[in-house]
């Protein structure tokens, strides 16, 4: 335990830098992924014919292994191999792939009775979307976002294999085989980060769904 702490202090600045990289890579990809997935998911839920192709395409993207995606990005984007932007784009692609289906299912799961009532009250289509469908879908979409967050955070360390500097570098150091300390430290920090993201998103869901709070309080 004290060894871990010692190592942490000795390499504080590096670890801080890497942690920050991990955080903005994960956070950035989540936000970007959500922003892209919301309209796509809405289209898939609204226009039934688009659902199968969108979801299949999303599935295909998800099957591409992370390492492969990280590796292909420089070729596609014209960036350098070591550029962390590769990772950002790849993770965003994954997030989108995961969330499109979740968003589509979430929006479609709002009961027709509720929507019909809203229409009868005079809500326009767009108002129904923002005032009724989205709020009700928040728990479902939020759950998907949590899975994406946790997966993304732990996925980032793989980027070490292509040289991008983030917390995975601790694993590379440890792989030189002398001591377990950096590896254990890396695992701990990454898992804590993942749980932190999860908790923040969960909190966000709770804040945005006060009606569910009332149900829980009962």
């Amino acid at each position: 335990m004290s060894e871990l702490w010692q190592y942490f202090r000795d390499n504080q600045s590096d670890i801080a830098q890497w942690t920050w990289t991990t955080v903005w890579l994960a956070g950035g990809s989540l936000v970007a992924g959500l922003i892209v997935a919301l309209p796509l998911g809405w289209v898939a839920s609204r226009y039934k014919w688009s659902y199968p192709p969108f979801v299949t395409l999303a599935g295909l993207i998800y099957t591409i292994p992370s390492l492969v995606l990280f590796v292909t990005m420089p070729g596609l984007l014209g960036t350098k191999v070591l550029d962390p932007v590769n990772i950002l784009v790849a993770l965003t692609a994954y997030t989108v792939a995961l969330l499109v289906r979740v968003v589509a299912d979430g929006l479609a799961s709002v009961s027709n009775d509720t929507l019909a009532a809203a229409a009868a009250m005079g809500y326009t289509g767009r108002q129904r979307l923002f005032a009724v469908q989205f709020p009700i879908s928040i728990p479902v979409i939020g759950a998907g976002l949590r899975v994406a967050a946790v997966s993304n955070v732990s996925l980032i360390s793989v980027a070490s294999l292509v040289g991008v500097q983030q917390l995975g570098a601790l694993f590379v150091r440890g792989s030189q085989g002398v001591t377990l300390v950096p590896i254990v430290l890396g695992v701990i920090i990454i898992m804590l980060l993942a749980f932190a993201f999860d908790a923040v998103i969960l909190l966000g869901i709770r804040l945005m769904t006060p009606w569910q709070r009332a149900v829980r309080a009962r």
């Binding site: 099957t63 420089p74 191999v81 294999l161 440890g174 792989s175």
Partner: protein
């Protein structure tokens, strides 16, 4: 374990067109270091991990879904396992565990190197841990989604707990379970690339890791990395499609809804089959 030498300068990586050249070269496919060998290793690592994960996760998911108790455990376990960085755990286990496994053997049919087993076990442990969450959560969700009326009727008819799980809950939960297995297989295929990080194991990730060291080389560098990546993606696609096919055969038509204009058997009054005819909805 070899340290990876990273190139500071990626400006002269070969263009993507080189990838198809690399893939089309039969020399890269055959031979003891060829794609086919690595592909086989990759497939075996995946299958072993998923099978073990099913053996562990399916009973737990069924039990928790059936009794309704311990749902929090399922969610927490799945979430926790998802948060574990695979690469980190592989490195950790290889550094810590491998020296402790004193079995200097080859793994017959998979790797020809002596000393492969101590590295295979840690990697499989990591892959199994990765494969468990989708199967566990989907099994639990699948059982929970079984029509409560059907469950009540089954109990009321005199089925014991085991019979209920075996005859009703499991078949009805099958679509979701299969979906979880598919998800799991995809995750493992993707992550098995890091198996190459451990010595001797190979798998398709080998090309990626080796390629990173000679990245500008048009024969073994970047094109090899991307080429191997495409093979992995293709493997994943084939696996997904195969499992979808399996799902079609294994899941009862009554659940999947695939019975429009199916053939139905024509029966004699005593229940024996007489023939078949097209049945409408």
């Amino acid at each position: 374990m070899s340290a990876l030498a990273f190139l500071a300068d990626g400006n002269s990586i070969p263009p993507l067109s080189q990838v198809s050249v690399w893939l089309n070269d039969p020399e890269n496919w055959t031979g003891p270091n060829g794609l086919l060998v690595h592909l086989r290793q990759h497939v075996i690592y995946t299958v072993v991990a998923v099978v073990i994960a099913i053996i562990i996760a399916l009973p737990i998911g069924l039990l928790v879904g059936h009794t309704g108790r311990g749902a929090f455990l399922v969610g927490g376990l799945a979430n926790g396992l998802r948060a574990v960085p695979s690469l980190g755990l592989v490195v950790l286990l290889v550094v810590w565990l491998s020296p402790k496994i004193h079995l200097l053997q080859t793994v017959p049919g998979v790797v020809d190197h002596r000393g492969a087993l101590p590295y295979l076990i840690p990697v499989e442990i990591v892959l199994v841990l990765l494969a468990i969450p989708p199967i566990l959560t989907n099994t639990y969700a699948g059982v929970q989604n079984v029509d409560p009326a059907a469950r009540d009727a089954a109990k009321g008819m005199g089925m014991t707990g085991f019979q209920l799980v075996r005859k009703v809950e499991l078949p009805c939960a099958l679509p979701l379970i299969m979906s979880g297995v598919r998800s799991s297989v995809l995750q493992v295929i993707a992550t098995a690339t890091i198996a190459a990080f451990a010595p001797f194991l190979g798998g398709l990730g080998q090309y990626i890791i080796n390629g990173a060291q000679v990245i500008n080389d048009p024969h073994n560098g970047y094109p090899a990395m991307v080429g191997a990546g495409l093979v992995v993606a293709a493997l994943a696609l084939v696996a997904e499609l195969s499992l979808i096919l399996v799902q079609r055969y294994v899941v009862s038509p009554g659940i999947s809804g695939r019975f429009k204009t199916s053939k139905s058997t024509v029966r004699a009054p005593d229940g024996s089959v007489v023939g078949t005819e097209l049945a409408g909805v």
